[in-house]
Symmetry: C2
Subunit: 154 residues, 2 copies
């Protein structure tokens, strides 16, 4: 018979929970980025998706989802917003008309260039503040954590 949770244990959970710690920091950073990116009209998620599309021209919706670790339905919806702004072009693939291929437009590429200095400013501030080596180690640990999660899922 497991004992019921007392407040001390609950405080411990709140403190060490991987999910909560990641979500909180991630949320704060997203908020900071979105605030600074406001003049561009882009959100950080949109900036990131545009970047991925730029580096992988004519990528399919599913592939984009695999690359970004997002559900296909999420990609579909986020792409629609970028499409409405004219930042991407979405058309059916010639060989397989189920598949759609996505490409960044001139306008989207301009936006990407407009937002990049803002991205860099925050990134540099972060790396400077916690230290370049420390930051690289953080990234390494995040990737290890990602691997641990993937293992658990499989």
């Amino acid at each position: 018979m497991r004992k019921k949770l007392d407040q001390e244990q609950a405080n411990y959970i709140i403190d060490v929970c991987a999910s909560a710690n990641l979500r909180t920091v991630s949320g704060s950073l997203t908020q900071l980025y979105n605030h600074l990116l406001k003049p561009t009209g882009l959100k950080i998620t949109q900036y990131y998706m545009l970047g991925n599309i730029y580096t992988s021209p004519d990528i399919s919706i599913s592939k984009l989802g695999e690359m970004m670790l997002l559900d296909q339905t999420t990609v579909t919806r986020n792409l629609n917003i970028l499409n409405d702004s004219g930042y991407v072009q979405i058309k059916r693939a010639k060989q397989d008309s189920r598949t759609k291929v996505v490409t960044i437009t001139e306008l989207g590429y301009d936006k990407l260039n407009e937002a990049t200095p803002i991205w860099a400013q925050v990134q540099e501030q972060i790396e400077g503040s916690i230290g370049k080596a420390e930051y690289m180690d953080l990234l390494k640990k995040l990737k290890a954590l990602q691997k641990a999660i993937d293992e658990f899922k499989s």
Copy 2:
């Protein structure tokens, strides 16, 4: 005159971006938790909020938001869902009728106890997989990053 972004630079950004790395890992872990918590009907965010309410009885909506680093309006909405499930009780404070105070219910406490073993299972798996000491160091770095973000915001 700044040079335009080439694909190599874009790949670099995608790879090192703090926001993207955090969001991706955070999202994967949230997904894993929500999958495993499905039998309980709780989401990991709801579990976490319930835990915070349990450790701070009669907390106000704003204070809860400060504690969890969430916007007040987000707390209001997330609380409504917990309230509809009967997991929390929300009533006006006696001294100040603008303020509302939130408390966990018996039912909510039972849910918290039901979900905690699942939380623990994943947490242990993570700590075991990347190593306890490594995990603690990751937490430390996340908190350092949080501080860096807070500094930037102020």
